[in-house]
Amino acid sequence: MPELLRVEALTAGYGDGVVLEDVSFALDEGDSLALLGRNGMGKTTLLVTLMGLTHRHRGVIAWRGRDLTTLPTHARSRAGLGWVPQERYMFASLTVEEHLTAVARPGRWDVKGVYRIFPRLEERKANFGNQLSGGEQQMLAIARALMVNPSLLLLDEPMEGLAPIIVQELMNVVRELVTEGGMAVIVVEQHAKLALSLTRNAIVLERGRVVYRSGSDALLADPATLDKLVSVS
């Protein structure tokens, strides 16, 4: 598959502060990557940096071979990056359906398509963002990201605070997106085994640097290394 995203020697942070240092990795079209590490090691900052919301000190972010670093966040979204932030950012004044239609762009995913994978959202389509349960909010956050028809989905701790049944359901959906939809995905997840079970490759960040990279299956099959790197929960 052709290369979708290439991050090369990326150093970035907030203002003058450096959080990510010399980070490099690449992702092909339709590929999947687990971004692992303990709390505060720079995982979320890396996703936020891909979306253009931090200060890049140096390094390259190339999207299908073109430089992405000068583009503002909305242009990155238009280019094909779909972001599901940890905070979910639901709007109390918008209904479920308005959340979806407000960001819609032409492509494979439309309202009907996301209702098919999240039937509960169709039942709740007239409800406002603040009337949803945690699980429903996470479904809406993923559905909203799909509505921009991204080529790459960035999932920041999608399972955080959710009950096991909902976690499993979301995992099923993400797996379908990766295997059937041809969409690339980067998953940040505290529960390393979950993220590894969803992805093909993994990198581990420690203090903003990549300290380990391997196939997800290989890391999953090496509990001692995994435990050492991320203190598996």
Binding site: A163, P164, I165, V167, Q168
Partner: protein, 195 residues
């Protein structure tokens, strides 16, 4: 070794349902919600058909069988686990009978709740033994040819009784459980507290 990933994923799905059942029954016992027997019924149907009909036979017939050939000394552990598959089946039907009694007689709640706690502990211990003891041995001992055969068996994921791809049916059943389980366990409607 795709099959190990599939088994772990299936373990997670089964555990999610069993743990979900445990939490729901606790909520009913504490008076935080009224029993939803349609939901309990869907969960029992899932546990009855998925682990008992599809998951455990695959472990016994493919993973354990190959491991027995390569590492005969592991036979006692595998015997225990295979026995637990049968015992688990019996315990499941005992639990289901307790639920049916509770459905007819609310006074049978305590026995049902105790049964759910015991079943969930049993399931958890069994699954941990498989993942912590058997999987590492399998990774060391099985050959590429073994894994190809096991992976093929697990990837096909066919229901041995009805002979059709079962993954879609179980996927739909799981989705239904998520849809009707009340928050925070699922995304179904809020259920009123028991009076």
């Amino acid at each position: 070794m795709k099959s190990l990933r599939i088994i772990q994923d299936e373990h997670r799905a089964i555990t999610a349902v069993v743990e979900g059942l445990r939490h729901l029954v606790r909520a009913v016992s504490d008076g935080r919600m009224a029993p939803d027997h349609a939901l309990f019924g869907a969960m029992f149907h899932y546990i009855e058909t998925f682990p008992e009909r599809l998951h455990h036979p695959k472990e016994d017939d493919y993973l354990f069988a190959r491991l027995r050939l390569r590492r005969p000394e592991v036979a006692p552990v595998l015997d225990t686990l295979s026995r637990e598959h049968h015992v688990g089946n019996e315990r499941f039907y005992e639990l289901k009978a307790k639920w049916e009694r509770f459905r007819d007689d609310p006074a049978a709640l305590t026995a049902f709740a105790d049964g759910v706690e015991r079943y969930s502990h049993f399931h958890w211990r069994h699954m941990r033994r498989e993942e912590d003891e058997v999987f590492p041995l399998a990774r060391q001992a099985l050959t590429t040819e073994d894994w190809q055969a096991i992976d093929a068996a697990f990837a096909s994921n066919e229901d041995p009784i009805v002979g059709v791809p079962a993954s879609k049916a179980f996927r739909e059943l799981f989705r239904r459980i998520v849809a009707i389980a009340p928050p925070p366990w699922g995304v179904g409607p809020e259920v009123g507290a028991a009076r």
